[in-house]
């Protein structure tokens, strides 16, 4: 499905502020696989997503999606196969437009926009069904301005929009981090539902160890632009948040130690 081979990204190269966001990074995501990515701030998680979606171009390495080299493909063309949900609920939907218009926009996905009518009667029942599955009651508010919705509702709409036209890959960037616990739970349930319904590959960044254990087939821990450890198979199934936190901290204290040694 998706493969990254020896991808490196460096920001501010050659200056004192040089950041090596991804270092010789390789990852393979299989068809229908669900991967959760954890790691402290600045570990390169968001850069990983930006490089997959095309917002950032790698300095070296190769990215393939479904056997096709997409390393230098423009972001908007890649979006045909890749759905994204961001941490900020405001980024995924368009305020000032109604839910119906937002979904209509997502329905263009994969084609080029033409002179057809923006909001089509034929889409009505499709949108209705998609929103009905969420049990948020939004299917009755198709004419509501998205700006009037709560963060959780907007994130739910974004999820539906991102998967509406069945992309191959779904990238979730801490998409519940800005939500209250209740809304986060609902959005996670919706995520599981959407990910299982279609044979969709999902990569999810999260800071919640709970979510990292609850969702997905594989956990990846990133640090300083590399994969530090990977947990899959039997070990992953038996994984608890406590285990994960322990491993997280063992890594942290290691870094702390080396810092202290350097300073001392």
């Amino acid at each position: 499905m998706l493969s990254l081979e020896h991808v490196s990204v460096t920001f501010n190269e050659g200056t004192p502020n040089e950041v090596r966001a991804l270092q010789d990074f390789s990852l393979f995501v299989g068809d229908g696989e669900f991967i959760t990515v954890i790691g402290s701030n600045g570990a390169g998680k968001s850069t990983l997503f930006n490089v997959i979606s095309g917002a950032v171009q790698p300095h070296s390495g190769r990215i393939e999606l479904d056997g096709r080299d997409i390393t230098y493909r423009p972001e908007y063309l890649r979006s045909h196969d890749i759905g994204r949900v961001f941490q900020d609920p405001r980024l995924g939907t368009c305020p000032g437009l109604t839910i119906r218009e937002n979904l209509s926009l997502a329905a263009i996905h994969g084609r080029s926009a033409g002179f057809r009518r923006d909001v089509k009667a034929a889409h009505e029942s499709w949108f209705f069904e998609q929103l009905e599955q969420q049990h948020l009651g939004l299917e009755h508010r198709l004419d509501a301005d998205v700006a009037l919705l709560s963060g959780g509702q907007r994130q739910a709409i974004t999820l539906v929009m991102a998967t509406l036209t069945k992309p191959k890959l779904l990238l979730l960037d801490e998409h519940t981090a800005a939500l209250d616990p209740n809304a986060a739970e609902q959005v996670i349930a919706l995520t599981e539902q959407l990910a299982s319904a279609d044979d969709l590959s999902v990569v999810m960044i999260t800071h919640s160890m709970q979510q990292a254990c609850q969702l997905g087939d594989r956990v990846i821990m990133m640090n300083q632009g590399r994969i530090v450890f990977e947990i899959a198979g039997e070990e992953r199934r038996n994984l608890t948040p406590a285990d994960l936190i322990e491993r997280f901290h063992s890594l942290d204290s290691g870094a702390e130690l080396s810092d202290r040694q350097l300073l001392g």
Binding site: S53, Y76, L97, L105, I108, G114, R116, D118, S125, L142
Partner: protein, 349 residues
């Protein structure tokens, strides 16, 4: 489908009542304006002039509000449109053809700004100033090196019918209508053009491309994530907007009876005033209402300026100063009102 039909009823009913409120505000505004015009003895020529400039207000609405793109290109696209129209009419082409050619010229001006923004990543404000600077020379070249082209004796949309219309008007309503015949004719012809353009634009903004253009101004990141080429949307949006400015330019040229290289001076601020006046007075919600509000805003602008002129009995040399005052009032009054409101709230409790 049955479920959607029943669920759709309520919002539709709500939006119908919102439309009714808008219509009522529009009628009330028309009544107030008519009252002021009759009391202040304002000539109805101000309406014709407002209609001539109205599409430039729509330009500013499209760039500033829809695309969220700070674009001053209108100052250059307007005279380019006027010059294109004038030179074609002088060379014997029909006014209709001249207007369409002006639209194309204006669209290319908008494309220039879009390309500078897209290729060099120079923000809209600077990109459009670069284009305006170049547009001055382009306008002079279009006019064959002259800074002014008179249309006296040429067939324009107005002059074509003015004689017949005047005769008909005098026949029907008597000789006192003779003085107003050109003004009335302008209102009718320009009104028809503005309505036709608004209808086309309304259709366009509600196509998939139109939706994508509206979304680009609201959330460019999302448009990219949706797999749409946001560069294309910016380019198409700026081309449409400045094409409209050029149509306005060609209308005003036919109204004034001459084209001039400095015709677009200060137009951006006038368009901005029109958009804000329309928003403050009519509080538009939907796409269609916003378009109407921009046009009405331009009309109110021209009428209030004419009212100040006749009330204070000013010479025409003061026109730009009065324009600036009206713009200041339109931009400043809502802000002052907000501050006064919060001041009242603080001190009432």
């Amino acid at each position: 489908m049955t479920a959607t039909a029943s669920s759709g009823d309520q919002p539709r009913a709500r939006s119908a009542s919102a439309g009714l409120q808008f219509a009522l505000r529009l009628i009330a505004l028309a009544a107030v304006v008519a009252f002021f015009m009759s009391v202040g003895n304002v000539n109805i020529g101000a309406i014709g002039q407002g209609l001539g400039y109205a599409l430039a207000g729509v330009t500013v609405f499209l760039t500033f509000r829809v695309l969220n793109f700070v674009d001053l290109t209108v100052d250059g696209a307007f005279p380019i449109g006027g010059a294109t129209c004038a030179i074609l009419i002088v060379n014997g082409h029909s006014p209709e053809f001249a207007i369409i050619a002006a639209f194309v010229a204006g669209a290319l001006t908008g494309l220039a700004t879009a390309l500078i923004d897209i290729i060099f990543k120079i923000e809209g404000l600077l990109a459009s100033i670069i284009v305006i600077t170049a547009a001055y020379t382009v306008t002079l070249h279009i006019m064959g090196g002259k800074s002014n082209i008179p249309l006296l004796g040429e067939e324009t949309l107005i002059s074509r019918h003015s004689k017949n219309f005047r005769n008909w008007l005098v026949e029907q309503f008597g000789d006192q209508m003779r003085r107003q015949s050109t003004n009335l004719l302008e209102i009718m012809i320009f009104g028809a053009i503005v309505i036709i353009v608004l209808l086309i634009l309304y259709w366009f903004l509600r196509t998939e491309i139109g939706l994508a253009i509206r979304a680009t101004g609201k959330n460019e990141q999302m448009v990219r994530a949706t797999g749409l080429n946001h560069y294309l949307m910016i380019a198409v949006g700026l081309m449409t907007a400045n094409g409209l400015a050029a149509i306005a330019g060609s209308m005003v040229v036919q109204q004034f009876g001459f084209a001039d290289v400095s015709l677009g001076f200060g137009l951006i601020i006038r368009g901005l005033a029109a958009v804000i006046i329309g928003e403050v007075l009519l509080r538009p919600r939907s796409v269609g209402q916003l378009l109407v509000a921009a046009v009405v805003g331009m009309l109110v602008f021209d009428i209030s300026r004419a009212w100040i002129f006749s009330a204070l009995d000013l010479p025409t040399t003061d026109i730009q100063f009065v324009s600036a005052l009206v713009v200041l009032a339109a931009l400043g009054a809502p802000r002052l009102y907000d501050r006064w409101k919060s001041y009242r709230q603080r001190h009432s409790s």
